[in-house]
Each structure stands twice: as C-alpha cells, then as structure tokens.
C-alpha cells in the first residue's frame, strides 16, 4: 500500500467502508490510498487540519461521488458495481449532516418529515400535496426525533425563526428520521455554542445506542475524545494514524499525528 496506514477495520462485514481509495478533482489528488471502515453501533472520528480531505471522504461514504480508484463497500459489496436502484437503497440507509444545516424553506415538521415523504409511493405523495388530504397532524417519528434533539415543541415553527444551533439540531433530527444504519457528520458542531454542541453529542450517543454507525469529521480533538470509539487522523489526503481513540491520543505511532495531536502541527 502506498502511504496511509493499513486498516484492519476495513473487513467489518456489515459496515460501510472505503478500500484503497484514490480520489481527486481537476488533476489534484485529494485522497490517497484511503482505507477505512465503520461498523454498526460505533462512532468513528476523523480528525485532521482543514483542507485535508475529510469532507471529500464523507462525500464518498455518502455516495455523492464514485472514487477514481478503489471501492466503497456496504455490507461487503462494492456499491458502485450495483444497479442504480440498488445503490439508491444503500443511499437510503445512510444519513448525513453537513456543517451548515441546509434546511428547506418551511416548517421544522416539513423538514424532519421530508425523508419519510420521499420514501412513500407517488400516489400518496401527490395526495399529500393536496391541502384537503394533507397530513398536518403530528407524526410520531417526527416527534420522537425532535425530542431527541430537545425541539419537540418546535415542530410548527418556520425554519427562519430558528437559531443556528436549533437549525443544526433540526438537521440532525431530519437525518435520523428515516432510521439510517449509518450517520455521517461533517463538522456538525463547528459553528455551535457549547450547549447546542452538548445536545448534538448526546444525540450521537443515543444514535449509537440504537445501533447506528456514526462517522464524524471534526477538527475538534476534544470532541473526538468525548464521542468516538475509534479515531483516524488524516493529513494531506491520507490516514496517518488509526485506532481506538484513547490509544490514538495517548500514544500515537506516527510522528506527524503526534505533532498534530500535541498542537505543534499548525495549518
């Protein structure tokens, strides 16, 4: 293998994995020989300086892009060798929260309900658009997810009335509403105050306890220590350190990873 660390965890049978992945844009390599896997009911943190490829890595795991080389695997199958319909089924088992909430114009309820709506047959969806038949009543799934992020009384509010932290919590509830097997979080708390950060971290823990596999990309090393079972350190598009979180923070084997964790590697 060129660069990066060999990743034993890539063999997780029911997991979501990248194997030997190279990926770039406009002739520039962003990811170089990345192998990484997350299983159910665990939290994997990806830490590293800004611009090191964390978002690109999550983009591949969420099937936004297919890698230039290597494979993305779900339950041991190469996702990009599947038919489009089969790949859609895989996508629908992966949730994602971005750095920005990216909420749709409308109520909180509409946002959290959206993933459930698009999974319904077209006849149901069209009927729901008609005001006379529309579902205005509380949906138990929506209520449950909003309770998880402490916003159960906000279902009827328009998203424009939410604070940044509340909006991100709604985005989290929306990503969990369809009960995904894996949840990908791209710097989900980087713009949030400590209280909202704590709510999101509690929700991550709850998701894990429900069996969800979580990948969180963050430049906040303390957050990785708080929430992650395993941590991977990324630098210049490669995984340079990977293992149980305490081991990575207490005794990193890679010299650059040690420097980054000690705060000496400034980008």
């Amino acid at each position: 293998m060129k660069g990066g660390v060999t990743n034993q965890a890539v063999t997780v049978a029911d997991g979501l994995a990248l194997s030997g992945v190279y990926h770039g844009f406009d002739d520039t390599d962003v990811l170089t020989d990345v192998s990484l896997a997350v299983g159910r009911e665990e939290v994997l943190a990806i830490i590293g300086p800004s611009g090191t490829g964390k978002t690109t890595l999550l983009g591949l795991l969420s099937l936004f892009d297919d890698p230039d080389e290597g494979t993305v695997e779900f339950g041991g199958e190469d996702v990009w060798s599947l038919s489009e319909r089969e790949r859609l089924n895989v996508r629908r088992q992966i949730g994602m929260v971005f750095q920005e909430p990216h909420l749709f114009d409308g109520s909180v309820r509409r946002n959290v309900r959206y993933p459930l709506d698009i999974r319904r047959p077209w006849a149901d969806r069209i009927r729901n658009w008609l005001p006379r038949f529309g579902h205005r009543s509380a949906n138990p799934v929506v209520t449950e997810q909003l309770e998880l992020v402490g916003l159960d009384d906000a279902a009827s509010r328009h998203v424009s009335s939410l604070s940044g932290g509340e909006a991100q919590r709604v985005a989290f509830a929306r990503a969990l509403s369809y009960d995904p097997e894996f949840l990908l979080l791209d710097e989900p708390t980087s713009d949030l105050d400590p209280r909202n950060t704590a709510v999101i971290e509690d929700a991550i823990e709850t998701a894990r306890s429900r069996g969800v596999g979580v990948v969180i990309a963050t430049h906040d090393m303390h957050q990785a220590e708080r929430v992650a079972d395993r941590t991977a350190v990324m630098l210049d598009g490669s995984i340079i350190e990977h293992g149980p979180t305490q081991q990575v923070f207490d005794d990193p084997t890679d010299r650059r990873a040690r420097k980054f964790i000690d705060g000496e590697l400034i980008y």
């Binding site: 859609l88 994602m96 749709f104 509409r110 985005a171």
Partner: protein, 240 residues
C-alpha cells in the same frame, strides 16, 4: 386632434357597468375577455411546464452547447412579436409544415396560443433558470443525501425557487396578455372567435372610439392585476 369629429360611444343613459355602449354588446365583450384569458392562460400554463423543465435541465446539467442554449434563451426574451406572428402564420399556413401536415390553424385560437407560447417561453425560462441556479447547492445536496432521486432533488429545487419562478410566470403572462402584433397576424381579429382585448383596443382606437378603447384597456389592466394578485397569493402560501 385625433378623432375629432368622429362619433364616440360615450354613454348618455343607463349603459351597464362599464358606462359605455359596446357595438357588439356585453356578450361580445365577455367573449373578448374569455378569448383573451383562454389564449393567454393556456399559452402561459403550457409554457410554464415547458420552461421549468428546461430551466432545471439546463441549470443542473453540463453539456456541450449549454452556453449557447442560455444565450438563445436570453435572446428570445427580446423577440419582436410581429416576427413571431409571421413565423407562426407561415408554420400554420398551407405552405408551412403544419398546414401541409393537414392542420387547419390559420386564424384560430390555437395558432394564437402557439404564438404566445413562443413569446412567453424565453421570459419564463430565463427567469426560472436564474431562480433555480440561485438555489443553494447545499439544499440539493441535503435532498440527495437523504435518499432523494433526481426528481426529488429537482422538486425540492423548484420549491425553493418558487418565488423567482412565479416572477417569471407573471412576466410571461404580462408579455402574452398584453401582446397585440402576433395575435393580430395569426388570429385575424375575428369577432367572436379570435378577437382579444388587445386587438379590440387596437381596432376601437383606429376607429376613433377612444372611450371604448380606454374602457377595454381598464378591463385588461384589471384582469392582469387580478391574475397577478391570485398568483402571488398562491405562491405566498405558507409551506407546512
């Protein structure tokens, strides 16, 4: 002075709600309003479906000639209506492709709809294109990340861009309903069949019946106001 010495139709008695005697009676004016609305709303409705589809396809796909297509749309916004009328008249005439294919569309409402469709489409498409490409990429990414198919992502984008699209539809409707050159050419201004408010105004003004022309003008403006108000109300509905 224009019109001096020409008898007018100013009402001297009880002449009905518009205070003017119409040479073709109130049934006639109702028919003119009906034809105007039928032709313009049909053309704009068809154009809206077509334009939004084109705007989404052009907005979110990269293909050879995309820049040319956008330039074509923008150029189309300034198409002279008389030229459009001429081209449509040729197309539906016996020498044109539709005439030779057996369609008898000269001086019909359908031909007027065709010409208004051609006039309204670049306006609605151009403004809709700007609206959909202005939607934050993150919104589309979010819809995709939650398991949306291409159609789901497109629908979310259209919904987010609805105010801009509505502006395009209103601009297209304004272009269509206020248009006189092409509908005169392809419709022929036949009383009871293809006479619209604009062609009736033009006719009455040429005959010096200014009061009548002005009242028809007021009716036209009131209709446009009413339709704009209804569409804005519809677009402003709170999304649940």
């Amino acid at each position: 002075m224009i019109g001096s010495g020409i008898p007018t139709t100013a009402c001297t008695g009880l002449c009905g709600p518009l205070f003017v005697e119409f040479p073709y009676g109130y049934e006639g004016i109702l028919n003119i309003i009906y034809v105007s609305l039928y032709v313009s709303l049909t053309a704009v409705a068809l154009s809206t479906v077509f334009s939004i589809t084109v705007a989404v396809l052009v907005g979110f796909n990269d293909f050879p000639g995309r820049g040319f297509v956008i330039a074509l749309i923008n150029t189309g916004m300034g198409l002279p209506s008389v030229v459009v009328g001429l081209v449509v008249l040729f197309a539906v005439s016996n020498q044109g492709p539709l005439g030779q294919a057996g369609f008898h569309l000269v001086f019909t409402r359908e031909a007027m709809i065709m010409s208004q469709f051609v006039l309204a489409t670049p306006v609605i498409t151009g403004i809709s294109l700007a609206a959909v490409t202005g939607v934050d990429d993150g919104i589309r990414d979010a819809a995709h990340a939650m398991g949306g198919r291409r159609l789901d992502v497109a629908l979310v984008t259209i919904r987010e861009a609805r105010y801009g699209i509505l502006t395009g539809v209103l601009a297209g409707l304004g272009r269509a309903i206020s248009e006189v050159g092409s509908v005169l050419i392809v419709g022929g201004n036949i009383e009871g069949q293809t006479r619209t408010l604009t062609t009736a105004i033009q006719l009455e003004a040429r005959q010096g019946r200014f009061e009548l022309a002005l009242v028809l003008g007021v009716v036209l403006v009131a209709l446009v106001l009413l339709i704009n108000g209804l569409l804005l109300k519809l677009g402003d509905r709170q999304i649940r």
